[in-house]
Symmetry: C2
Subunit: 476 residues, 2 copies
Amino acid sequence: MTPDEFREYGHRLIDWIADYRKRVYAGEFPALAQVKYGELSRKLAASPPQEAEPFDAVLRDLENLIVPAISHFQHPGFFAYFPSNSLLASVLGDHVSTGLAQLGLNWASSPALTELEEVTTDWFRQMLGLSAEWRGVIHETASNASLVALLCARERASGRSAAHGGLQGVPSPITVYASEQSHSSIEKAVLLAGFGRDNLRLLPTDRDHALRVDALESALERDLAEGATPGAIVACVGTTGTTAIDPLTRIAASARRHGLWLHVDAAMAGSAMILPECRSLWEGVELADSLVVNPHKWLGAAFDCTTYYVRNPAELVSVMSTNPSYLQTEADGEAKNFRDWGIPLGRRFRALKLWFLIREQGVAGLQARLRRDLANAQWLKQQVDATPGWKRLAPVPFQTVCMRYEPKGLEGEALDRHTLAWCGRINASGRAWLTPAQLDGRWMVRVSIGAEPTERRHVQALWELMRREAESTNRQ
Amino acid sequence: MTPDEFREYGHRLIDWIADYRKRVYAGEFPALAQVKYGELSRKLAASPPQEAEPFDAVLRDLENLIVPAISHFQHPGFFAYFPSNSLLASVLGDHVSTGLAQLGLNWASSPALTELEEVTTDWFRQMLGLSAEWRGVIHETASNASLVALLCARERASGRSAAHGGLQGVPSPITVYASEQSHSSIEKAVLLAGFGRDNLRLLPTDRDHALRVDALESALERDLAEGATPGAIVACVGTTGTTAIDPLTRIAASARRHGLWLHVDAAMAGSAMILPECRSLWEGVELADSLVVNPHKWLGAAFDCTTYYVRNPAELVSVMSTNPSYLQTEADGEAKNFRDWGIPLGRRFRALKLWFLIREQGVAGLQARLRRDLANAQWLKQQVDATPGWKRLAPVPFQTVCMRYEPKGLEGEALDRHTLAWCGRINASGRAWLTPAQLDGRWMVRVSIGAEPTERRHVQALWELMRREAESTNRQ
């Protein structure tokens, strides 16, 4: 494809994307794809074409085959998981990144890639109200960032074991702590880092589903008595289940006392900290060693864009760096090489999409949207609290409301079946998309507000739909 | 930004990217950025804008600030590292991915994302001539894929230690083997996976810089005698230094005998296997457990697009899976959830850029370009071999020619200074971009051919430039 052909097809694709966004914002598609597994695969050629195909054929398949088989995170009825917003200015930033085809291997391979990442992660640090002690880098996802954090914790607790016998050589097992409400990526990172499930303590939570510091202290004492080496604790600001907030200041005190690495997982809720009125919710964050916040969630940077902040970059680099001759340049020593701040060697120019987003929206624009969503969540919370039969299951510090319809006489597994049934009916209607989850052993429904096009009227419509489906399912 | 504003600015950016590509293909920019560290940062605002900025200001900065601070992997004078091609059809596929703003969490969250990835990685498998025993997935980079491979190897060798005490509980150290020419990402993966540097055996190579199987056998015997558990070997098809090829069949025999996981790193050179005439070079690949090939290198998929193939997906999933309630759907069990095939939970719709590329080029189109590059490398090899004073330092099985100009009387560190000097002069000229590297303790120059716009005349021009700079530097 020549640049002029790219121009022609690119214009058509830009129009197509603009139209797609108009259609999705208008709720034209079912929010959750209504297809069966394998339905798309069966329509696709089983083997690659030997000769070039006309590009028009590709574009036709995009509309006719791909679009019917996707779910729509940008739908106004998207209330599932967490928002995965992708504001159009950020989309353009990503288009530029791909068009320029940069590859970050070291600073010299793309000076702008490195320097814009330094500057833009520092902008975002300021927006979050973090001190100048923090240095940021962009990773693929929070799963990757939390794995990096736990690898650094492992190396600190094991006396830099990687340089010697590895974790295989440690004299006593290193233990890791998190609440039982922590994200699955934390458990996964603990296992991948080699600690072993036996050395992960998933601690009980209080009635607000936040980590119990007394349980942490007991676990630490028990482990120390048994000769283990406590290595790290992961605290959550905004858990996935209910957006619970672990008490950072008190956790940090325990961490300091026992020499634990403190990693803060604020992947979703961290974006709320661009609002000064929210910052008391993560008081103590300055006492952490590392922090992850995903601008690709609620904030609206095109996925993938995870920011990872550390207070001691030298410690991070000591764990993650390699320096083969073919990557050395004259700028080493002076320039930052972000390959030493994460797992991959090669890196995309991801800062562009965050830079475009912040400039096109302004801090004030981003703040206004997040405040809209917080207000919508409070509105829904009030409805749930005021409506007989409905039970709210957790505090609403951010934009997620957890609830269940509990008709008289239904409990246990019958209640679970009822909850999953009405939630499934809503998802099958295509009008909204909700994620059920388990809390205290029972299924509930999370209404996670904050898709870009979601206004109050969409939340109102959802609430009406939920009442209708939950209450009528019960009458059947 | 509304869809209509996106349309307006999107058209302008498509034109801008098309023009950028025309300019870079014409050699208008210096191949390697001619800036100093911090030069760009100092021109950027130190703090984010409180209010929205006009989008025109962003576009102006793109042209005036960003472009002067980037190096150009798509330049016809790009002969550095390895090709990082990004063909324009693939760029459009990536644009669509970002525009649709999909997020792969499980199959249901984006059925097309999962199914197109299954289909497209299977197309590429067929193109590589691999048997139907392999199943593919797309990862961010080869560093990530090789880390996943070594984690799986660790779990096999340790009897699924992650489910128990982790690597901390293994009775005898697990050892890993690779050649001293293996990529730095292998050493990094060994350290991150917790094996420890003391348990990594970087084996000597033969005169063609390929792993010596006798050295492998000796190391295995020594380790077994000392009570270690050999766990994995990484074999390279196309090392970074010289594109050397480790003897897979013989290595696989050792691996089978000792129960080692065999991971094949064909990140760059794997693309050559779309040419049937190259496939004898990786004979034995079917005996491996895992394999990484990067379509985002020579083949031309927009970065990032690493394909990772395994023969036993169940074993991969057993190491990488998590299954919290909020990710469960009715399709589980039937549908594939690629989150269990790698480190990240959330995943981009990366298959689109590979699908667009293969369809727009056809297998024949991709083959023709790679054959052009192989022929160009053979031409350069002949020039080097035929020119007094020049020494070729390695075989040329693919598209990289390793060489040094060795004037009479220069050796040791003086020769190193001379090599780095003339190579530095070429890079400073902006006309070409070369990567020096160390081989057998001395600096040499790798000419890695295969940027998309690089034709024979560009290789000829490079050779003239190299001769002029190397021979004239010597006369000074």
